[in-house]
Symmetry: C2
Subunit: 434 residues, 2 copies
């Protein structure tokens, strides 16, 4: 597999549509494609936009080299192959910044270019935004549920090896403190962290049986006493005793990975305190999701390690965003078949907030119209320029910017919007498409 370009990370029909279009002026008509989600995952109150930064990076590498051209020439005519050889996106893209909340209908991305240039990007754009937004949306709920306690993302082993890297990035955007994933640390600068696995302790088993103390001593020798020891390989109470025996009361932390985490956290906290290890932190992990995190709020847990549920979007592994042609040569267009009506025409969005900062609605209006007014409310435009003439605009928000933006945006939700219970979107979307 070649990662130097991303051109074949796409559906065959995007290329055959280009091939069919290129025989007609239609291929070169100015079009607007919009990305939006018809609905949020079942019961969710908000979504979090993620992946835009990755998309802009990948866009620059969406090029057809000789090897890719050879591969697609088996089903494409020569004119199309020639066109693909020269392909370079030359249009404009506006969109919601990473870390922005979104709701049903929010025009998360608007791509302005010719039909042929725009249709070609559909698959790549949706893959990235659907994946990363699904992870960030789930992670944001976990971060809220953790109420200030740090979460470490450790789900790489539960998802595709490259999706794991993007998941770690999206989770960090959403406020997770660190990741176990080393490629995410290298590529995106996400802080990385780790403890140890049961295998490490088991590895010290000898003819005389287990030797948990030897394992702990070896870990401390390598990583110093600030490390976190995994204490539940054998008996947890003995494990905690062994940990403090070996490390002393300055031990950084202990991790509990199984059992009734609430009960065990209390027991272990009492034991650590009675041993004098009052500053030793308790890390819990093991099938945690946002509900389990919330249920541990009253317990003496210092850090959550979250894996499976985070990297699989906690029941919503894809964000359900779609990429629709909404305008051709300035004319609004929309599919008219049953059940899947779309509102044609290029749109912009503003979010209305009270003076307190609490948001009350999202308003969509046609790009050609003036922004709506809303008495007594502040209206914040949601789309920013991302790409102009095919090139990323200068000074795009960084991953850290997006992380800060989301933290602020979550505070702006009406209080019930931050709850974990199922319900309607936190604010309604109003269409002003006169």
């Amino acid at each position: 597999m070649t990662i130097d370009n991303t051109a074949l990370l796409t559906d065959q029909y995007e290329l055959t549509m280009v091939s069919a279009a290129l025989r007609h002026p239609m291929a070169h008509r100015p079009c607007v494609f919009e990305v939006f989600a018809r609905r949020l995952p079942d019961g969710r109150r908000y979504g979090v936009v993620a992946g835009t930064g990755r998309l802009i990076d990948e866009l620059a590498r969406f090029r057809f080299g000789e090897e890719e051209l050879a591969s697609v020439s088996r089903f494409l005519d020569d004119d199309t192959v020639r066109w693909l050889r020269d392909y370079r996106f030359t249009g404009d893209i506006d969109g919601y910044r990473e870390g922005e909340l979104y709701f049903p209908g929010s025009p998360i991305l608007s791509v302005r270019t010719t039909f042929a240039e725009g249709v070609l990007l559909e698959t790549l754009i949706l893959s990235i935004l659907n994946h990363d937004s699904a992870i960030a949306s789930a992670a944001a709920r976990m971060v809220s549920a953790a109420a200030g306690r740090p979460i470490i993302e450790m789900g790489s082993r539960r998802t595709h090896e490259r999706a794991a890297v993007a998941s770690a990035r999206a989770a960090y955007l959403a406020g997770v403190a660190a990741t176990s994933n080393l490629e995410a640390a290298r590529t995106y600068g996400v802080p990385s962290a780790g403890t140890a696995a049961h295998a490490f302790t088991l590895g010290f088993t000898g003819p005389d049986g287990p030797d948990e103390k030897a394992a702990f001593a070896a870990q401390i020798e390598a990583l110093a006493i600030g490390t976190t020891l995994l204490v539940d390989t054998y008996d947890i109470t003995q494990g905690v005793r062994n940990a403090i025996d070996v490390a002393g009361t300055g031990l950084g932390g202990v991790r509990i990975d199984s059992g009734d985490l609430g009960v065990l956290a209390r027991q272990v906290r009492d034991q650590l305190d009675s041993l004098g290890a009052t500053d030793t932190k308790i890390v819990v992990s093991g099938d945690l999701d946002e509900y389990a995190i919330a249920s541990l709020r009253a317990e003496p847990v210092d850090t959550y390690g979250v894996g499976t549920s985070l990297v699989t979007g906690s029941g919503a592994p894809t964000a359900g965003m779609i990429y629709k042609l909404v305008e051709v040569d300035g004319l609004p267009v929309a599919k008219r078949a049953s059940h899947k009506e779309s509102k044609g025409g290029a749109k912009r969005a503003v979010r209305a907030a009270r003076a307190s900062g609490t948001i009350v609605e999202e308003i969509l209006y046609r790009t050609v119209d003036d922004p709506p007014s809303s008495d007594g409310l502040t209206l914040r435009p949601l789309q920013i320029p991302l790409v102009r003439g095919g090139d990323p605009v200068d000074g795009l928000p960084t991953l850290e910017n997006g992380r800060t933006h989301l933290a602020d945006a979550l505070v702006s939700l009406p209080w019930e919007g931050l709850g974990l219970s199922h319900g309607d979107p936190a604010v309604p979307t109003r269409y002003v498409l006169g």
Copy 2:
């Protein structure tokens, strides 16, 4: 991101465990690590092993280059960095072949090597097997539900852009006929297919309104009349009429992507037949999963297009496989804390079948013991050699081999095991660990 090597697609703690281990002889003790799933996803009757072929490819690229070493040296000592520089897996791997069914406890992969070499591979091995097996397991149920009608996998846009490629491969292994994903076609030789999107038809909208016929004519001009036209952008009945008007009765197919697919398929079949297009196929798509596919069994559907549910594992996006140290220096080892007991010791597996071919149980026994006997039943060993001395063995099964193997294996299930209803694993797992 560098794809030339896969060394950082791993969790930080694998490397810190190596660092701690290397100070002791323990790092070099011969170990056996096993991959298995404690249970199948809720209600599933069987799982399908997938990803082994990809894993063996990635293993060869699990190397620490200077850039990776620089990245990990921020938290590792010099001795460990030197060890990683020379790292090359030198052990043996046995495992279930791709396309093999698995059940709870099945020893899907056994890695024999030193502690340090083996622990380092945990994350990569689990990422690949958990992802690919989740997709293949869901896809196999869809293929069964389709009862011989072809399925086209078109879910790339609903998952991470690289996971999409692996998903297409896993779906093909499971019996899906083709994919929309071009990288999967190039890298793995999966047959690729495609129709057209609503955007294509909408793109022909002019000042006088929509022009569906112009869109159909353009598609046929480019792709000939064997193509499949999407007929539900506007009115379906008119769409079918336009399709046959433009293409003639030799049209390859029409696709319906919305509405009540069963009702519409019947209407469209009648209409096509009455127009004389009796050989024109009907492709249906739109939020199909195995249950929706099964519910269309009585309808005149020729091909299913499946997206979201396939690439997200239809409710089970990860296979829940774990990687456990089971033997150190010939001694069985196992975690002993509550709720997560594992059965220590390296294991082999055989599957028992009646003379009819129907399987009745899976039997796990210690590698050091003789295979069990089972009166009147055929016992088939399930593990094959995959890697010897760090190198792939010659003549490993191909993707096509795995596809054939699974098709045969599914026929061997007791009849209730192929049903879609929730239930227990299709056959029990018996441990003979005397």
